[in-house]
Symmetry: C2
Subunit: 357 residues, 2 copies
């Protein structure tokens, strides 16, 4: 397994990324790494991590794509960048998976440009692993597409089930469409029509029907499908709620002597909770729908966080996910009178609306 | 202040509602209550609560609207119901505010039918109080409208600021539009256009611009404006996340002897946390945009929860909120070339799409 690492992307700097790669190297002894970036910067960093020697190779790329750069600019002017080179190595089949902590929009734009979209899929999506009461679920899209029609939602279901199968090793994942009520009458048209198509499809999934926001954390289904706007709001609202509760817990414990004593005794339990809430343990969104696998690490990820993103990349790289998406996409039958022109129109409209966060 | 209570709605039954009204009566000695429902059921319940005597009056209504009944059916066939009577008393200016724990969709439909929508407002919305690190914010719409155009979002901003002023007593609330990025280029068209209109408006607000999902819990703005689909998903995702974290905390504490000892010492702190997370302390969504105030209590609310909904109703009833909405709506200037036909078209489309959760 060869991983193509954008060693310059993100807010934490190349030192964190190289250190994270060294952690990943210890966890996955057979993996090899291409480190794309400024050789003058990376050489001394690589020298610090002896375990990486013989497993990593520096590929010089002089430029860096800034976190504020626009996707269109990145595609036009980013050819010398570490990000471009990292994706290029996967597109040229020199590496299996690309990992970057850089600018999400630029990464998606370059990946679409260099890798292309899987045949039959209208738009790529970003999927994340979401911790639940029953373990983990997959949620997508969390930010690649602002408005989605029913065909895109169905594509997301296809990609989500292939992703869930790859990382959870389950055979027939359960899939739910995020909606605001479980009854048929509720919700927006595109979501309702996507449900009709999924019910009629021959996908290797158990289609659960609609799920609501609180069903995500409860782990009601393995895969939650939604548009990128709603998914992004849900993901960030969950993060904000977790922070709020930890804040309340901390100030409640500090308020009294007994609270402080209790916190001391329960420090082991709080450590467990902190680990559960640590975004570093589940770091990484996966770009799905491309002819290649790209893992996006959080921009502010430290070494441990970046190592988690590589863990995910290795899970992905070892699977036949893209072949499964191609095959499963064929199992979706849309009625003949809808499939042709409607799909074309709506894809056209959708690409105009598409927004990358 | 006279409160019109639907004594039969909700899952907990009239005993809880009458008990909740008795709690509210002790908190608000000057309030008077009309209890709508089956006299044979309510009379013995009222007799149990002596404090209510002289402050509450039973108004016989033989029928009850079921929790699964469709809104359109409720409007056609619900005229004998406790819910209808409760709203009717406010529409006829016999009471100041209506409170019901019944079927949300039916309640909204009957309220729209009997009270009518405030002039200039395109659609009503449901607003909730959301606990934050800085206290509380208002979030709307959380479920009355599935798809919203920019004019509806602007109306929600007008209604949200009037609501925030009524319950928080602040003069110029800060208002944010929920989006998936703070940069101008991101997000969906309707949200971007709503931002342009709000920036140009003369509303008595501080328009903050865009906020993201995690900004809600952080309390970045006093009022968060979004469409009913996104708002409902965000609200329920936050509820699900809170449950998940409490579940993790509980199981982490139970796992070890020290954890159990620590939990004992810190029991006071956990009580504080539990109270913060108790949905009963902030029970009630408010229907905004109608010529009358309706508070929707959670369907499963117990006596304490229903009393909180009445607290909110009393805060609302004592304010000049509806007059403020009417006045502030005039401060929104849309460009002449957009205001006319676009608003008409989009309102037409929106009412077709409108869905009540």
């Amino acid at each position: 397994m060869i991983l193509s690492i954008d060693a310059m992307g993100g807010d934490s700097g190349p030192a964190s990324i190289v250190a994270g790669t060294a952690i990943a190297r210890r966890r996955h002894p057979k993996a090899r790494f291409l480190l794309h970036g400024d050789e003058a910067v990376l050489k001394p960093l690589l020298a610090r991590h002896r375990t990486l020697a013989g497993h990593a190779e520096i590929r010089h790329a002089p430029a860096v794509i800034g976190m504020a750069e626009k996707p269109s600019q990145a595609v036009r002017r980013g050819r010398n960048s570490s990000m471009w080179h990292a994706i290029d190595a996967v597109a040229r089949r020199e590496a299996d998976v690309a990992v970057s902590a850089g600018n999400t929009g630029a990464l998606m734009a370059i990946a679409m440009f260099r890798m292309g979209i899987i045949e039959g899929i209208s738009r790529p999506a970003i999927a994340v692993q979401w911790p639940t009461m029953r373990g983990q679920s997959v949620v997508l899209d969390v930010g690649a597409n602002a408005g989605c029609d029913e065909h895109q939602l169905v594509d997301f279901a296809v990609m989500g089930e292939a992703f869930a199968r790859a990382i959870f090793g389950i055979d027939r994942p359960t899939v739910g469409l995020l909606n605001i009520g479980e009854e048929e009458v509720k919700g927006i048209e595109s979501v309702k029509r996507a449900a009709q198509i999924l019910r009629a499809s021959k996908l290797p999934i158990e289609f659960h029907g609609f799920v609501e926001g609180d069903d995500i954390g409860a782990g009601v289904v393995d895969v939650v499908v939604t548009d990128g706007f709603t998914g992004n709001v849900a993901l960030k609202t969950a993060e904000g709620t977790a922070k709020l509760i930890v804040h309340w817990l901390r100030s409640a414990l500090r308020r009294s002597f007994f609270g402080r004593v209790g916190a001391m005794f329960a420090s082991g339990a709080f450590r467990v909770l902190r680990r559960k809430l640590d975004p570093r343990t589940l770091n990484g969104g996966v770009f799905l729908g491309l002819n290649g696998v790209v893992v996006k690490s959080h921009g502010g990820a430290d070494a441990l966080g970046f190592a988690s993103a590589i863990d995910l990349a290795i899970d992905m790289g070892g699977s036949d996910m893209i072949a499964r998406i191609l095959k499963d996409r064929e199992g979706v039958s849309t009625e003949p009178d809808q499939a042709g022109p409607v799909a074309e129109n709506s894809n056209g409209a959708a690409s105009e609306k598409a927004v990358i966060s």
